[in-house]
């Protein structure tokens, strides 16, 4: 919720449409963190996440005049589709999708030293989940969204999403519990 009506998404969009290109930066600053986290958890690669974020915001800028309803939900769908398309292309270009083909768990070399074993194991486990389960788990647990909000963003039912999250949890626990339970 934006308290200042002057800087509400709708007002910012109007400013951008009337030629104030720099005003778009407000929207980027406002929404890049949750979108980046989503892309990062979905792709497992900071480079890919940055690319998807960049392309999504460019697409959002080009089609800004077509925004109907909430900007954050609209731009989220662009990023989510970008992630799914990337995963689909990865699958097409790798006939056998082994662990070696997957992007390495995300961290810069410096960060790598600080990472806990659980963190990298969880990254790897997440990357083995089907995209729809991973997306649901990330939205629920990492992004902390309610099922209702998820259903609104993904255009599906709360029941279907609960099932995806439950299945994702069970799959993750099956992969990790031997080591961590």
């Amino acid at each position: 919720m934006i308290a200042d009506p002057e800087n509400s998404d709708q007002m910012v969009i109007q400013r951008v449409l009337s030629g104030n290109r720099d005003a778009f930066k407000i929207l980027i600053t406002r929404y890049s963190d949750p979108l980046y986290r989503h892309a990062l958890c979905m792709t497992g690669s900071p480079d890919v996440a940055e690319d998807i974020l960049q392309l999504s915001f460019i697409k959002a800028y080009q089609h800004l005049a077509e925004v109907r309803g909430r900007f954050d939900a609209w731009v989220f769908r662009i990023v989510a589709n970008g992630c799914k398309d990337w995963l689909k292309n990865i699958r097409r270009s790798h006939l056998s999708y082994d662990e070696d083909d997957q992007p390495s768990a995300y961290a810069t070399p410096d960060e790598e030293l600080d990472r806990t074993e659980l963190r990298s194991d969880l990254d790897r486990a997440l990357l083995t989940l089907p995209a729809s389960l991973r997306e649901a788990f990330v939205m629920k647990h990492v992004e902390g969204r309610s099922y209702e909000e998820m259903a609104d963003l993904l255009g599906t039912t709360v029941g279907a999403l609960k099932m995806r999250v439950h299945r994702a949890r069970e799959a993750l626990q099956a992969l990790l519990e031997e080591k961590y339970a």
Partner: protein, 150 residues
């Protein structure tokens, strides 16, 4: 722009606790457009108590699942939640914002609509001109036909 994310996968209306029955369905059904299976098979998954799911969904207090068979699951998920919490605090690298701004087109965005959706304005002079042109064209065709018939 239409960004359709409605990949319901035919699972609408299914509630979580009956999903074991639908597993076989899942394996047999065709993949949704953007669904990407990545190696891990669901058959490897274990059944997690509905109570643990309810606790993870914030519907039950921890105390209610801490005892009995679910205690081990609670310990496991508490570790995962600590890890997940660190992810929730991740920020976009600072340079990304500048990179995006530099990559944006210099011109202001405009609505691009197909020609059949665009507003069509008819001015009286244009209407008269078009009507006159049609009459002339029709007369010419008729005259040509009459001359040809003779």
């Amino acid at each position: 722009m239409v960004d359709d994310l409605r990949s319901d996968d035919g699972l609408s209306g299914f509630d979580g606790h009956h999903h074991r029955v639908s597993r076989r369905f899942e394996q047999e059904r065709p993949l949704a457009d953007r669904e990407v299976p990545l190696g891990h098979q669901e058959s490897e998954a274990r059944v997690l108590s509905p109570l643990v799911h309810a606790w993870l969904d914030g519907e039950l207090p921890e105390a209610s699942v801490r005892k009995g068979d679910t205690a081990r699951d609670v310990e496991f998920w508490k570790q995962i939640n600590v890890e997940v919490e660190t992810r929730r605090r991740m920020r976009t690298p600072v340079f990304v914002e500048t990179k995006i701004m530099n990559a944006l087109p210099q011109t202001a965005p405009v609505a691009i609509s197909p020609w059949w959706r665009r507003e069509f304005v008819i001015r009286p002079t244009y209407a008269l001109a078009v009507a006159a042109a049609l009459i002339v064209a029709a007369s010419a065709v008729t005259a040509t036909l009459i001359v040809t018939m003779r």
